[in-house]
Symmetry: C2
Subunit: 183 residues, 2 copies
């Protein structure tokens, strides 16, 4: 049943900060940052983008990415997301970037990958999946600032072995801007 859930903010015993706590049973809903992982998937020099079929940002373009699940490694999660969103079987080449989005409690670990076997298609959460040349990327229709960031990180890295991963850009070092605020 879905009776009202009565969460309040209070400081659990032995801790030093407020947590969301169920007033009825004492369950503490720790709000931890979540890990998003995904990939810039490259094929014939083009990058794969998925047009989102779900909110938030339905209709906008993103890389195949999503929340890591329990029991996965981070690379397994990135491969699963490519499979789910783009019906794509990818091989991860290395890490492009690690971004903190402090506004919403996310860490994004984003890889460079290639198609491990040919073919892709829109998965359940995508309206369409396409490969784009750099000059064709729909910059004004990207879903999130970090998609913009990581596409530039990929472009800047070139095609060779990857070095140190990028962090947040200097104009948003904590990941607190919303789209339309100069991201």
């Amino acid at each position: 049943m879905s009776s009202a859930i009565n969460f309040i903010r209070r400081i659990p015993e032995g801790e030093d900060r407020e947590r969301l706590t169920c007033a009825d049973c004492g369950f503490v809903a720790y709000e931890n940052p979540k890990i998003v992982t995904g990939s810039v998937v490259v094929a014939d020099g083009k990058v794969m983008l998925c047009r989102r079929a779900i909110e938030p940002r339905r209709g906008f373009w993103t890389i195949p990415a999503g929340y890591m699940e329990m029991g996965e490694t981070i690379e397994e999660a990135a491969r699963r997301e490519a499979r789910e969103e783009a019906c794509a079987d990818i091989a991860i080449e290395g890490m492009l970037a690690v971004y903190s989005i402090a506004r919403i409690g996310q860490v994004q670990v984003l890889f460079r990958a290639r198609l491990a076997s040919p073919g892709f298609a829109a998965g359940a959460e995508s309206l369409e999946v396409r490969l784009f040349d750099w000059d064709e990327i729909p910059w004004d229709e990207l879903a999130f600032p970090s998609v913009h960031w990581v596409l530039h990180a990929w472009r800047d890295a070139g095609a060779g072995p990857l070095g140190a991963p990028r962090g947040n850009p200097p104009d948003d070092p904590r990941g607190v801007r919303r789209l339309g605020q100069g991201a």
Copy 2:
């Protein structure tokens, strides 16, 4: 109050896998992987280790590290952990490693850092904090396999600019071994 909490595993509407759900009120306790961050803090060529005052692995040595909190960037979390566990003010130099510990649902993002101002001391969660030369590191008394891994990653990287971060070692690519199983 702390009456019994009645969580069961069931598949929430619109999802495809079981989640821990409160049988009384329907609250879904999403079990997400958690982000641990920490640093190999280097001073005069020595590395800082903290002897844990808390379980698990009380009495064993670790780097200053812990769970990232909401509202932080990952670098802020690493600096906070050094402050809390070693009363140390650190400057992060770059990323040494990103490890997946699939057995317990962790991603560990581990940095190389130096002391930004002199001095350190045992924080509330540490019995003692010391700097160790490589040959003095208490290998048999390290708290976790990943401490072993990252100390080697630091040693292998040398003192210069950091390249691509290390991932899990080949003998535990998913992070599923326990200590004593050849970690």
